[in-house]
């Protein structure tokens, strides 16, 4: 039970960050928090042994994959941020409103 509370709380914190931060780097960091929350949930559930059934190894593998994906995402995301920062001289999303309809 506490596992669920902790992961949902962590996920919500990350989401809150994504929604409220105005700086691209901070948003990326918040996404990392959310991914961390998801990984934690996967690993925690695997450790508890329920309710995923017999393939605990598959769950752990998924957790590892999420970490890898998070790393890749962070790499691409940060590269994009650098590119944006070079071009617009800012990383604040509310100033990056070129495609606003």
């Amino acid at each position: 039970m506490s596992l669920l509370v902790i992961t949902v709380g962590l996920f919500s914190l990350g989401l809150y960050g994504v929604l409220t931060r105005r700086d691209l780097v901070a948003i990326l960091a918040s996404i990392e928090v959310m991914l961390g929350a998801a990984t934690l949930l996967l690993v925690g559930l695997a450790a508890a042994g329920t309710p995923m059934g017999t393939h605990e190894g598959a769950v752990e593998a998924t957790g590892v994959m999420v970490i890898v994906l998070a790393a890749a995402e962070a790499a691409i995301g940060l590269a994009l941020v650098i590119s944006v920062a070079r071009r617009f001289k800012t990383t604040r999303v509310d100033e990056l409103a070129e495609v606003k309809g």
């Binding site: 989401l15 994504v18 929604l19 409220t20 999303v93 409103a97 606003k100 309809g101």
Partner: protein, 608 residues
């Protein structure tokens, strides 16, 4: 000849075909249009005459086809059957229609839309023949509706005149009230008997429940009242005078309006089983006879006099039916067809010659239009009931039969015939005698107008002697002439004529009294029946319609229909503020939506 008579359907189909031919090729036929059109009534006349000559007593000719199969066993047949009554009616219809077509050649000369006119007359002939030769109520009903439609077409012949268009609609709608009664009678009889042919109906009639017989008879009576312009559905006939005068002579005097009388005479074996329906018929006929005669006393339009006179005379026929004297009713129908068609055509000749319908603008026409004058006098004498003209014999038979059965109503009818003589004399003097008051040059019409007048005048003088033969032909009882009734009615006729003559010469001295003048005004407007209908029926319907229009239609229906676009626009504008272009705001909404969805799902699925 027998082979000819076996082709009963042709008596309907050929006039119908001619109607189509005249309507389609009238322009090509040009002035030969009437010559083609007159073939329709002549055909009907020939068929009727030959049927009478052949003799009808042995076996009535008939034929029928199955029209519809209803349910598993019942089938609806339409067919024709010719017996004495049918043959007599065919002769009346064919003869009057032929003379009217002939008269129209002169009367309608130079009018626009003559193919339409003559085609309508042909169609009317076909419809009236259908009504008459049908072997059951289904065929009769088809003819019944068709004559109503033709009446509508011909009253509204001059449809560019608003009064004519209105009158046509009024006639159609008012008779429609009666038609509903007839249709309900058909439905009731179909449910109870399962056969609408006369033979089947009359065979089953004695074993029906009395309530059924009375109900069916009363519904038939409602139909007859509508068609024959009896009280309380009489209001359409005076307005129907907006149509061309030959049409008034044919449809609104001689044939179609008599269809109500024919209907009751035809269904007599059923009708006679219901004393209540008979009493109702007598009451309707008696009231109509005297009420309409009173209204005719004070009319100023020559055609309106004749219209009210027709209503009144039809009332006489209904009264005769009400006391069981259906033979006398049919006899009066035949004589009335002759002399009233004559009077209408005479009035048409007067209108054609003097260019007005107002009695006040006539006078002295006897000298200027001698043929019309003499024939009018014969028709007028027949209508007033002077011996030995036709109306005397038939009206006398009615008075006699009613006097024997219901003396109280007979007194009413005697009063009505006194009034009849009065308005006849008044109209005759105003139109034909004294000095000419108009400013035109009245002249006699051509031969095509004089010939029908002479032919009908001959009939109006002679046909009264055919009473015994007619009764034998149609299989009804013929009462011998009762000298006391004859003397009384003749005396009343002479008295009425003298009084009417005197009053017409004096120029209504009594009407200077305001109360009498007010009464005369009321009577002139047909006892205010139109106004009553307006107040009681039309005004509530009109205000209900206004309500429906203003609130239900304009606000509710139109409001919904017209409101959809502004509604969509407003909703769109309201939601457009959500689309700010701020991706984080979208994500917030997404998150909120997901949470809401989760909440809902977990709330619904909480018990699982």
């Amino acid at each position: 000849m027998a082979a000819f008579l076996d082709l009963g359907w042709l008596v309907v189909l050929l006039p119908m075909l001619l109607a189509v031919v005249v309507a389609l090729f009238g322009r090509v036929l040009g002035r030969f249009t009437p010559a083609v059109a007159i073939l329709a009534p002549l055909w009907v006349l020939a068929y009727g005459v030959l049927s009478l000559v052949e003799g009808l007593h042995d076996a009535p000719r008939s034929g029928s086809v199955e029209w519809l199969t209803v349910g598993a066993a019942d089938s609806l047949t339409v067919g024709w059957a010719v017996d004495g009554l049918t043959a007599v009616m065919l002769v009346v219809v064919g003869l009057v229609a032929a003379l009217v077509v002939l008269f129209s050649v002169g009367y309608m000369h130079g009018e626009n839309g003559l193919p339409r006119y003559f085609a309508s007359l042909c169609l009317f002939t076909a419809a009236m023949s259908m009504l008459v030769v049908a072997d059951g109520l289904v065929g009769l009903f088809i003819g019944w509706e068709l004559v109503g439609a033709c009446s509508y077409l011909l009253i509204g012949f001059w449809f560019t005149r608003p009064a004519a268009a209105k009158a046509a609609v009024k006639a159609f709608l008012t008779t429609r009230v009666g038609d509903v009664g007839l249709l309900l009678a058909l439905a009731l009889l179909w449910r109870e008997v399962g056969d609408l042919s006369y033979a089947g109906l009359f065979a089953a009639a004695p074993s029906l429940a009395p309530a059924t017989v009375t109900g069916a008879s009363l519904l038939l009576l409602v139909g007859a009242i509508g068609k024959s312009a009896q009280f309380p559905l009489q209001i359409w006939l005076p307005d129907a005078m907006e149509g061309p005068t030959p049409v008034s002579a044919l449809i609104h005097a001689a044939t179609m309006v008599a269809a109500g009388v024919f209907l009751i005479a035809r269904t007599w074996p059923l009708f006679s089983l219901s004393p209540d329906a008979l009493a109702m018929t007598l009451a309707v006929g008696g009231l109509t006879a005297i009420g309409a005669a009173a209204a005719a006393l004070v009319q100023t339009d020559i055609k309106k006099v004749l219209a009210y006179s027709t209503i009144s005379q039809l009332g006489f026929m209904f009264a005769a039916l009400g006391v069981g004297a259906w033979g006398a009713a049919v006899f009066h129908l035949v004589t009335h067809a002759a002399f009233k068609a004559l009077l209408f055509l005479g009035s048409g000749s007067v209108i054609h010659g003097s260019g007005t319908q107002e009695l006040e603008e006539m006078g002295g026409l006897f000298r200027k239009m001698p043929v019309t004058g003499v024939t009018w006098l014969i028709g007028a004498g027949a209508l007033a009931g002077l011996p030995p003209l036709a109306g005397f014999f038939s009206k006398d038979e009615i008075l006699h039969d009613v006097a024997l059965a219901e003396p109280v109503w007979a007194i009413l009818l005697f009063g009505a015939s006194l009034m009849t003589a009065f308005y006849v004399a008044r109209t005759t003097r105003l139109a034909f005698f004294d000095a000419y008051r108009g400013d035109g040059h009245p002249h006699e019409g051509g031969w095509s107008m004089r010939l029908p007048l002479i032919a009908l005048a001959t009939l109006a003088a002679a046909v009264g002697f055919a009473g015994a033969w007619l009764a034998e032909t149609i299989g009804a009882h013929h009462g011998s002439l009762d000298l006391r009734v004859a003397a009384a009615s003749t005396l009343l006729a002479v008295l009425g004529l003298l009084a009417g003559w005197k009053v017409a010469g004096a120029g209504h001295p009594g009407l200077k009294q305001p109360r009498l003048a007010a009464l005369a005004d009321l009577m002139r407007q047909g006892w205010g029946a139109d106004r009553l209908v307006e107040r009681v029926l039309l005004a509530p319907v009109a205000s209900a319609s206004q309500f429906l229009y203003r609130f239900v239609d304009r606000q509710a229906v139109d409001g919904i229909a017209e409101g959809t676009a502004p509604f969509a626009r407003r909703v769109g504008r309201a939601f457009s503020s959500l689309q700010s272009g701020d991706a984080q705001w979208y994500a917030t909404m997404l998150g909120a939506g997901a949470v809401a969805l989760l909440a809902v799902v977990s709330y619904i699925g909480r018990g699982l």
